[in-house]
Amino acid sequence: MSKQHITATVNGDPVEFLSEAGATLLDALRDELGLTGSKEGCGSGDCGACSVILDGRLVCSCLVLAAEAEGRRVETIEGMAEGGVLHPLQRKFIEHAALQCGFCTPGLLVAAKALLETNPDPSESETRYWLAGNLCRCTGYDKVIRAVMDAGAELRQARVA
């Protein structure tokens, strides 16, 4: 099986890897680049645990071919904290106990980051619908939604200050 050589930007850094034509971006992140923070819960785009931001758009990395990443910009959970400082969303998830097993957490955080970048002041309903593609079986979503909205409030405050 022939492999393709792919160059892309992941979390701001240039990367290169070889990929089988049928391999997904999620496979490449996890198996070729060792970035196992993005999880595979279903492989069919139904759980969101593999969420990444591709050229500014939130996508399921299990539904992107690795070959499609050629020349493109990928942001994953591993790039969310900057220089060891947690993103406000990451901090708020811990503060609000918005994770239990933590498996869906990376995907939820990436999706929530995309939300707050698109809509800095989402309502509860907007937050719930935006995150509807991220399944969480532990929390019942209550504390997740609170954490995202609280992080949004903190980010808005920071912008004003």
Binding site: M1, S2, Q4, E20, A21, G22, T24, G43, S44, G45, D46, G48, S51, L54, R57, L58, V59, C60, C62, L63, V64, L65, A67, E68, E70, A111, A114, L115, Y129, W130, L131, A132, G133, N134
Partner: protein, 290 residues
């Protein structure tokens, strides 16, 4: 192990040549939200995947002659972000925006939704109600076909080997005209439509319906255009009596199956309910489109 190749050509003609050369082995890729699931499950074992996204115009929306041209690989999210598309064709945009999650919206295209040929595809009843047309590229050049001629059965299309949809065209809209789409699902998100209904209406200055088109999803092997139901709306103001006959006329044309997502009886009843509700929304919108 079969060989799988990947190409990302930069012209439509190149893509068509590659697909034609691969015969039944080739598959065009837009958003990939259906294709990758089929690859993964083993339902589909193509020898070649041709990514359309590097073809100029494949991603994007342009206004042309009062209507809109939507590139085949334009993700759903871009439709909602467009400054005027949602004003002119709100039903098409709301239908496309119902496909999957935010993540899916970042990738999934209406052309893919159309060519996947699922009877339950959300954007298709809306496109058909809107009289959308498709520009199809193939090894022997380009042709145009109405959206309702693409799917010919569950998972089957009228596209010939090597052909793919490059653009979807939405016609210009007059004043006092609007469309709407609703679907019925058990959850609030993430489900496949158990029934979908798209309605497009035009009114005269007195609010009387002059043109109507009703398209129903998931109640037949392909989207059903309910001609009699639409004809019954013309000449009315979408009053209660008109809605009741719409409900009955829609139920009369449904030919659904019973499957894991719903029973035939339920689907038929809900089709009538949705048609009424969608017609009401389209009517209210049309009255406001001055």
């Amino acid at each position: 192990m079969s060989q799988l190749d990947f190409l990302a050509p930069t012209s439509a003609e190149e893509a068509a040549r590659a697909l034609a050369a691969s015969g039944a082995e080739g598959r065009p890729l837009s958003g990939g939200t259906d294709l990758l699931v089929q690859l993964r499950s083993g339902r589909l074992k193509p020898g070649l995947i041709v990514d359309l996204k590097k073809i100029p115009g494949a991603i994007g929306i342009r206004e042309e002659g009062g209507g809109f041209v939507i590139g085949a690989a334009t993700p759903g999210a871009m439709l909602g972000e467009h400054p005027s598309l949602g004003r002119v064709w709100p039903g098409v945009v709301e239908a496309a925006s119902l496909i999957g999650s935010t993540q899916i919206q970042g990738r999934a295209s209406m052309a893919g939704n159309l060519c996947n040929a699922s009877p339950a595809a959300d954007s298709v009843p809306a496109l058909i109600a809107a009289r959308a047309t498709c520009v199809i590229v193939g090894p022997s050049g380009r042709r145009t076909a109405p959206a309702n001629e693409i799917a010919i059965g569950p998972g089957r299309t009228s596209l010939q080997p090597g052909e793919f949809v490059l653009e979807i065209h939405l016609p210009p809209r007059g004043r006092r005209a609007a469309d709407a789409y609703l679907r019925s699902i058990p959850r609030t998100e993430m489900d496949i439509a158990v029934v979908g209904a798209g309605v497009s209406l035009a009114l005269d200055a007195d609010g009387v319906i002059t043109e109507a088109r009703v398209a129903l999803g998931a109640v037949g092997p392909t989207v059903i255009v309910a001609e009699d139901a639409a004809a019954g709306l013309v000449g009315t103001r979408a009053d209660d009596a008109a809605m009741a006959s719409l409900d009955a006329a829609v139920r009369a044309v449904c030919r659904p199956i019973t499957d894991k997502r719903g029973t035939a009886d339920f689907r038929t009843k809900i089709a009538g309910v949705l048609a009424r509700r969608v017609a009401g929304i389209a009517y209210a919108r049309a009255k406001e489109q001055k």
